[in-house]
């Protein structure tokens, strides 16, 4: 395990690269700059935002932020992405989000120590998010992996499952604390430890 990961910063604007460079070095990362070639982290222009976000995620991007972004937020996202990479390397089978614990091995979900009964689809949805906490799972990805191929555009299934999960897992159903919707893109699990 490396203590100091190195990050490649790609942007065509020198001021942006300088800004990220200083923010990330202060965060203790090694930084390499490049002017083109889009790979790990995609900063996206405004035109047709949803479509490009989805495309970037499908290409293997871990996450995205849109300009203008907050350097603190970028740092936080990078931390989350790295943690999840470490987590998947060490195969952490239990994901904790607030009072909720998702055990991916025994396929059980508990809230404040008490088991919560989920429908199979609700569990599938939540587990898919929990495998990569903090990362956005696109609508199409969720639908394909939980409901199966052919259901990629049945977004209302997701809405039903998300609503059910919130009711069962969250204090106040209307203010999303752990399952966050990105309009037009997908869902992510926030606050995972």
């Amino acid at each position: 395990m490396t203590r100091n990961p190195t990050i490649l910063v790609v942007d065509d604007e020198p001021p942006i690269r300088r800004l990220l460079h200083s923010a990330l070095t202060r965060g203790g990362y090694g930084v390499i700059e490049a002017e083109d070639a889009r790979t790990a982290l995609a900063a996206l222009p405004i035109a047709h935002p949803e479509a490009q976000k989805v495309a970037a995620l499908d290409l293997g991007a871990d996450d995205y932020v849109t300009k203008p972004f907050d350097t603190e937020e970028v740092s936080a996202r990078i931390r989350a992405a790295l943690r999840h990479r470490l987590a998947s390397e060490t195969n952490v089978p239990v994901v904790k989000v607030g009072a909720v614990e998702i055990d991916l091995l025994s396929r059980t979900v508990t809230k404040a120590g008490r088991e919560v009964h989920l429908t199979p689809k609700e569990y599938g949805f939540l587990a898919e998010l929990a495998k990569q906490p903090g990362k956005v799972a696109t609508h199409a990805h969720l639908l394909r992996s939980v409901w199966g191929a052919g259901h990629e555009s049945d977004v209302e299934y997701l809405r039903v499952a998300a609503r059910g999960l919130r009711k069962k897992l969250e204090e106040e159903a209307s203010s999303p604390s752990i399952i966050r919707n990105e309009p037009g893109v997908g869902y992510r699990l926030v606050g995972a430890k």
Partner: protein
């Protein structure tokens, strides 16, 4: 291999039905089988299933059981029509259209409306309802069907006058209402059957068991046929290349004879059975140029009926009927020809040969049906001899003069030398008279010539007796030559006349198209069209073109003509339906003007009106084809002009769009990049140093600028109106939660209360646009609310729809400003101090309307503060069925 490809015609038919209402016809064999009862029962079932059903018109004929069925229906009141002192009641079509039910019940599809109604026939009302997207249930007795009219009349002895074109029910769903004949007769005896007016005289005969059985068979067969036709349409549209009768083409020859109408109906029946396209053709020979008005009318009726029954119509000029039919059937690649058995005399056939015989001989590849035709009625007598048939007096004078001169010359010649063949010179006056003055003058001249020859030259001279039989031959030869030559000459003259006529038509068309080519503006086109038609047909003309929702008078000849209310209505109808209206058509016939749509590619582009200055029918039937050709040309020219204008404006739009896109990407890039750097740097500064207050101020301003840029870009995205929107089902709880997440920094010390019921349906919106709507609404509330107060986001059902409200506790909206605050850069007093850009609410309105939502602003009824509401119409709601 032959790839089965969808038949474009079938697809077109299906496409033209989209957005149309469905017609369902309850078809019965005879009155009294219970069609109305059945229709009401099914209507009631639909109503009970939650469909919006009203009754347009239903005749109960006083039957108690039917009347009982009416209960529970909403009935649209009928419209009273005054006609010759009688108060008649008809379906109020405008009231039904205004009511806009899902389904309307309209009894007796074949009914004829009272004079002065919008349409002559009820089925035309129904067609208008269908076109407006309203489903219709209706009832029909089989004998009212146009193509079965003759068949029914032939065995019931009752001729039904109210007929219905077959095309009306061709696309309809048909339900047979059937009871056995015995039962129907029983019901008749019990007085349960209302007897239609036409049948009163023949009551006993009409309701005989054999008749009822025959009618029943007809009804069942027709229904089976309709199902067949619809099945075929489906097969063709979906290219399920099955076996259907391919390649059959029918041609029916239509003449001026009265049996033609039946011939056309028969052709329709045969074509239907063969499932083949068919054409009614009229062969225009020199003889038809001499037809009287009554015959012309008969001919026009035949062709009109054919087009009403769904056939094509053609008129072909030719020397003889046989030759014309031969040529046309070859060109049309017809496989079957239908002609009537003519009522010509044996004598006519001996002279001209039987048309049937010659056709059979000369068109070997075609099956020929020869159908009997009704005997000519007494009224349709043969053509009255046209005046001038006997020739002008001057012809006789000239002929006499010529005979005198020839006699003189003959006498001189025979005095000089004894000539035996002097008789030949008498051919001269006969030929001149026959070619120049016609048959009868020729024959008279021949007679006089032979008398003169006899008197002056044949021994004994100066007497009318003939001794030598040889000379008798000479006299007869003279007469025969006169007859023969005048026949030939008359033919030539008629051909010349006909050629002149069609040359006149062709030159009118050619001249008109020449006139049109140079025209680039609508006004000019209107003037040329109006003046040309007015000149050719001696009528007053007018051209109306659409402007927005109205038809506007763009040209008239003579200039200054104006239209009354009725004419306006007729013009509008003709434009909307793409069919003629007004005098001489079958819609709104009380209008003095006849309106013809000017169309291209099946789309009406304008309406052309014509009226006779002396209030006669605007145009003779034989001139109609020329008029329609002229209008077709005008339609093409008009389309060309409109396309030209569109291309010009599209080019402009494209240029503007290109500029806008360039500006957008420049703004997006050049403004956002420095903002990102400024904001990012400020964020890091705060961590390093402790000068919080100054940095916070700089950061707040930078964020305000950032918001302004974001809104500006959003606004620019609304205005082209062309941004592709992709609605998907969105959970309001999701959307509100995400919006609050994004806003958490600008909410300040406001609390947010969320009041969303648990069972809300999903809403179909573009998630990104909706997100911006919510952000701007909540941001707006936070800006204007008093410090430390609560902002409420609530949703509730209202009627079938849904309302999402954002409520604040603040000064509220100044009275009268509820609308203005949604305008771009509109700011209410003092709001600029709070950092508003003046764009937020304009964006809310623009996005909301683009997604089909309603948006309103008001002050809260109870407390202080404003209430902004987004309303979702029922069509955007998706109720959730609990999963699994």
């Amino acid at each position: 291999m032959n790839e089965p490809r969808p038949d474009p015609e079938a697809l077109l038919r299906a496409a033209s039905r989209e957005g149309q209402g469905r017609l369902k016809v309850f078809l019965g064999a005879a009155p009294g089988v219970g069609k109305t009862f059945e229709m009401l029962s099914e209507g009631a079932a639909r109503r009970d299933a939650g469909v919006d059903v009203v009754i347009g018109v239903v005749e109960t004929h006083g039957r108690a059981e039917t009347e009982a069925k009416l209960r529970g229906f909403e009935i649209v009141p009928r419209k009273a029509v005054e006609y010759q002192g009688h108060a008649l009641e008809e379906m109020d079509i405008d009231a039904v259209l205004a009511r806009r039910p899902r389904l309307v019940l309209v009894d007796e599809l074949a009914h004829t409306n009272a004079p002065g109604s919008r349409h002559d026939k009820r089925y035309q009302d129904v067609e208008e309802l269908l076109a407006a997207g309203i489903d219709v249930y209706s009832t029909l007795n089989i004998q009212h069907l146009e193509s079965l009219n003759d068949v029914v009349a032939s065995f019931t002895q009752v001729r039904v006058r109210e007929t219905l074109p077959d095309r009306v029910i061709e696309q309809a769903d048909i339900e047979i209402v059937d009871i056995p004949p015995d039962e129907l007769i029983e019901r008749l005896k019990e007085g349960k059957v209302y007897v239609p007016h036409e049948a009163t005289r023949a009551l006993g005969h009409f309701f005989s068991k054999s008749n009822l059985s025959a009618l029943r068979e007809l009804a069942l067969r027709r229904a089976a046929q309709a199902v067949d036709a619809q099945m075929l349409d489906y097969l063709r549209a979906h290219a399920l290349a099955g076996r259907w009768a391919a390649g059959e083409r029918l041609v029916v020859a239509v003449s001026e004879q009265p049996g033609s109408l039946e011939l056309v109906r028969a052709a329709k029946r045969i074509a239907d059975a063969l499932n083949a396209p068919w054409t009614a053709v009229h062969i225009e020979t020199p003889r038809t140029a001499r037809l009287g008005d009554a015959e012309n009318n008969q001919l026009a009726q035949g062709l009109h009926l054919a087009s009403q029954l769904g056939g094509q119509v053609a008129t072909v000029p030719a020397e003889t009927v046989t030759e014309g039919l031969k040529r046309f059937t070859e060109e049309a690649r017809a496989t079957q020809l239908i002609i009537g058995k003519t009522t010509r005399s044996r004598w006519f056939e001996l002279r001209h040969g039987s048309i049937v015989d010659r056709l059979v001989r000369e068109t070997p590849g075609i099956a020929i049906h020869v159908l009997p035709m009704e005997q000519a009625a007494a009224t349709a007598a043969r053509p009255v001899p046209t005046p001038g048939k006997w020739g002008k007096p001057v012809g006789y004078l000239v002929s006499l003069g010529l005979i005198a001169a020839v006699t003189g010359i003959g006498l001189l010649l025979s005095a000089a030398e004894n000539l035996t063949n002097v008789g030949l010179i008498f051919l001269l006056p006969v030929m001149v008279a026959a070619t120049r003055y016609g048959l009868r003058t020729g024959i008279v001249t021949g007679l006089v010539s032979s008398l003169a020859y006899n008197f002056f030259f044949i021994p004994p001279t100066h007497a009318f007796t003939i001794q030598d039989p040889q000379n008798i031959i000479t006299v007869f030869v003279l007469l025969a030559v006169a007859g023969f030559i005048s026949q030939l000459a008359a033919r030539v003259r008629e051909q010349a006349l006909l050629a002149q006529h069609s040359a006149g038509q062709n030159s009118a068309l050619a001249g008109f198209s020449r006139l049109l080519t140079g025209i680039g503006r609508r006004e000019e086109l209107g003037q040329v069209l109006c003046a040309e038609v007015a000149r050719l047909f001696e009528v007053n003309t007018i051209l109306l073109l659409p402007e927005g929702a109205d038809l506007v008078l763009r040209a008239a000849f003579p200039p200054g003509s104006d239209l009354g209310m009725l004419e306006d209505a007729a013009a509008k109808w003709a434009f909307d339906h793409g069919r003629p209206a007004g005098r001489g058509s079958d819609t709104l016939t009380a209008s003095e003007w006849l309106f013809q749509p000017v169309s291209a590619g099946g789309k009406a582009l304008g309406v052309f009106g014509l009226a006779s200055p002396d209030a006669q029918a605007p145009i003779r039937s034989d001139n109609l084809p020329l008029l329609l050709s002229l209008l077709d040309q005008a339609g093409l020219a008009l389309e060309r002009i409109i396309l030209g204008e569109e291309i010009a404006s599209i080019a402009q739009l494209k240029e503007r769009d290109r500029l806008r896109a360039a500006l957008l990407s420049s703004v997006s890039h050049d403004l956002r990049t420095p903002l990102t750097t400024i904001l990012g740097t400020l964020a890091q500064l705060r961590v390093v140093k402790g000068d919080e207050a100054h940095i916070a101020a700089a950061r707040a301003e930078a964020e305000r600028l950032n918001r302004f840029v974001a809104n500006l870009l959003d606004m620019a995205r609304i205005e082209p109106g062309a941004r592709a929107r992709s609605p998907e089902p969105v959970d309001l709880a999701d959307a509100v939660g995400t919006a609050l997440e994004d806003l958490r920094r600008s909410l300040g010390d406001h609390q947010v209360r969320i009041a969303l019921p648990a069972d809300l349906p999903l809403v179909e919106v573009d998630p990104q646009l909706f997100h911006h709507c919510l952000i701007n609404l909540i941001d707006n509330a936070a800006k204007h609310a008093f410090a430390g107060t609560t902002i409420t986001v609530a949703a509730r059902r209202e009627g079938d729809g849904l309302v999402l409200e954002v409520l604040d506790e603040g000064p509220g909206i100044p009275p009268g400003e509820e609308r203005r605050i949604f305008e771009t850069f509109a700011r209410i007093e003092g709001s600029d101090r709070k950092g508003g850009t003046g764009l937020g609410l304009a964006i809310v309105k623009g996005f909301a309307e683009a997604m089909g939502l309603g948006v309103t602003a008001a002050n809260r009824p109870g407390g202080q503060g404003a209430c902004f509401a987004l309303s979702f119409p029922p069509r955007l709601l998706r109720e959730l069925v609990p999963a699994e």
